[in-house]
């Protein structure tokens, strides 16, 4: 005999296995692991230290921005301007450092430039009520153009007195692990906690889930949106600085088309383009899967021109997967 109390106390999932296997993240992670295993067997070069180091570093950049993108997507928006924010932040730090500014001053300045792009996005979306797609498409164009103006469209490869420090921060490694990976790990950890355990994270999902309900219950939706686009731009700015140090030179086509890869990583990792769902860990796993696929194309001798095909297919399949799931429930 089940009483009302029993019913209320019951959890939806009977065991941790059914809980874990109901998550898209779990299956994407399995896919990434399987891809890695297959590549280790099929090629001699995948499981080498050198290659794994490269994979780790490459996916870290996409992963960092994908975490920011996940916050925007989970709130029901989209940020197309991240690729341009990357180049703007990289250009600000390289131009100012070339002019003799120390790293510790140029770094916050680069982040500030990125943040301004995000705040502009957020204000236009939240206060002017413009669609995020249009606003960020505008800043996508504007921020890259600003980077071109800043650098006069020249390549910058001399970062002034702190040159070696920037190269170390972005391209160096400690204990055999590249620095961007540390940044990614720290960011993923912090944002996972923020998503789950703070009001900000809870309200973010509420806005993405039902914006009207969020407004009616008194959540400061407009301020939230500005901060959400700010976070997204900050992650892009951070990645821009790290990429400048990794590449050792900055050109104005840095980060071009990156927004698509980042959106794909977020969506594969479980961010719902309709809003209300997404987690930081998923963005990281999504980015990892994309990088492993890209790496495998190179190692298996397949033209890298196929990469766009894979990413495009991934986005569509991930969204289709989501449709099927919702259709069933």
């Amino acid at each position: 005999m089940t009483t009302l109390d029993d019913v209320i106390a019951r959890s939806e999932h009977r065991s941790w296995i059914s809980r874990v296997s109901s998550r898209q993240l779990f299956w994407v992670f399995i896919a990434a692991v399987l891809a890695c295993l297959a590549l280790s067997i099929l090629t001699d070069s995948f499981a080498t230290e050198r290659n794994l180091f490269n994979v780790a570093r490459n996916f870290a950049f996409v992963g960092i921005i994908a975490i920011g993108m996940t916050t925007v997507i989970a709130s029901g928006g989209i940020d197309l301007s991240v690729g341009s924010t990357v180049v703007l932040s990289a250009m600000v730090i390289s131009v100012t450092m070339e002019g003799g500014m120390p790293f510790l001053l140029a770094f916050p300045l680069a982040l500030l430039a990125a943040l301004l792009v995000g705040v502009l996005n957020g204000v236009l979306v939240a206060y002017a009520g413009m669609p995020p797609f249009v606003v960020t498409l505008g800043t996508l164009s504007a921020a890259r153009s600003l980077a071109m103006v800043l650098s006069d469209n020249k390549m910058i490869w001399n970062f002034g007195p702190d040159h070696d420090l920037l190269i170390w921060v972005g391209g160096g490694s400690t204990l055999g692990i590249p620095h961007p990976l540390y940044v990614l790990a720290a960011l993923a950890l912090v944002m996972s906690l923020v998503f789950r355990w703070t009001r900000w994270g809870q309200h973010l999902l509420a806005i993405g889930s039902n914006e009207n309900a969020a407004i009616l219950t008194g959540i400061p939706v407009r301020r939230m949106k500005v901060s959400i686009y700010g976070v997204s731009a900050l992650t892009a700015g951070l990645a821009g600085v790290l990429m400048a140090g990794w590449l050792g030179s900055v050109t104005t086509n840095l980060g071009q088309g990156m927004e698509l890869t980042v959106i794909a990583a977020a969506v594969i990792g479980g961010a719902n383009l309709a809003g209300g769902e997404g987690n930081a860990l998923g963005a990281v796993v999504g980015a990892l899967l994309i990088e492993v696929i890209r790496n495998s194309l190179i190692l298996l001798g397949i033209s890298t021109f196929w990469q766009g095909m894979f990413i495009g297919t991934f986005i569509v399949v991930a969204v289709a997967f989501d449709r099927v799931r919702h259709f069933r429930s």
């Binding site: 209320i8 999902l205 039902n210 309900a213 009616l216 219950t217 008194g218």
Partner: protein, 212 residues
């Protein structure tokens, strides 16, 4: 009561602190109050069940009940959401409402009655003085209508004033003590239910009767 476009929902949103009134004042227990946002109104004991229930499908029932006023715990300088307490309190509220609603489940997978329970539980969180229900019986089955009317009576027995916005004459006469009629943004009647009749109210809504 009032026809579509009479201003019922707008009035609800003014009382709930969503819109500022263009003229006039709001008094709670004879004290004039001004609300700048829904949180102000909640502090004065005013809670609303919105027509579309204003639920977030991707959040759990407990999270929805506490939306915008989550209970927090401190760990040194850090503050985090106390899910255990939210689930416990929400479970207690569902028990009060006699609803088989699991606090940890996502609202997306719930029935119409359970969703109603979540929206109503939200209003009971802070021991309100006034609960406003905007068309709670518009989109649910006959059995659920009876349940909602039961809940309204239970709220009344707890000393909570319920303002019921409705189109459905039997519901209104079934539970109300006093009936007010709006027509094109104006109050045309406000009288005791037992001194009025469905015919009179219908006349007031359509304008066949000027005022009462």
């Amino acid at each position: 009561m009032g026809d579509n476009g009479a201003g019922k929902t707008t009035l609800v949103k003014i009382i709930a602190g969503n819109f500022p009134p263009s003229t006039g004042e709001i008094r709670v227990d004879d004290q004039p109050v001004t609300f700048h946002n829904p949180r102000d109104a909640q502090r004065h004991g005013i809670e609303v069940v919105y027509q579309d229930l204003a639920l977030c499908d991707n959040l759990s029932a407990a999270s929805n009940v506490f939306l915008g006023r989550e209970t927090m715990r401190s760990l040194g300088p850090l503050r985090y959401i106390d899910y255990a307490k939210m689930n416990r309190v929400a479970a207690e509220l569902f028990r009060q409402l006699k609803s088989e609603t699991r606090p940890r489940d996502l609202v997306r997978r719930m029935s119409g009655g359970q969703r109603q329970a979540v929206a109503i539980a939200r209003t009971l969180l802070s021991e309100p003085k006034i609960v406003i229900m905007d068309e709670p019986t518009a989109a649910i089955s006959v059995r659920q209508v009876a349940e909602v009317l039961d809940v309204i009576r239970r709220l009344r027995d707890h000393g909570i004033s319920v303002i019921l916005i409705s189109h459905r004459m039997p519901d209104v006469f079934g539970v109300s003590d006093k009936i007010a009629v709006l027509r094109r943004g104006e109050l045309v009647a406000s009288k005791r239910a037992d001194q009025s009749s469905p015919e009179e109210v219908t006349g007031l809504i359509t304008g066949a009767i000027e005022a009462a």
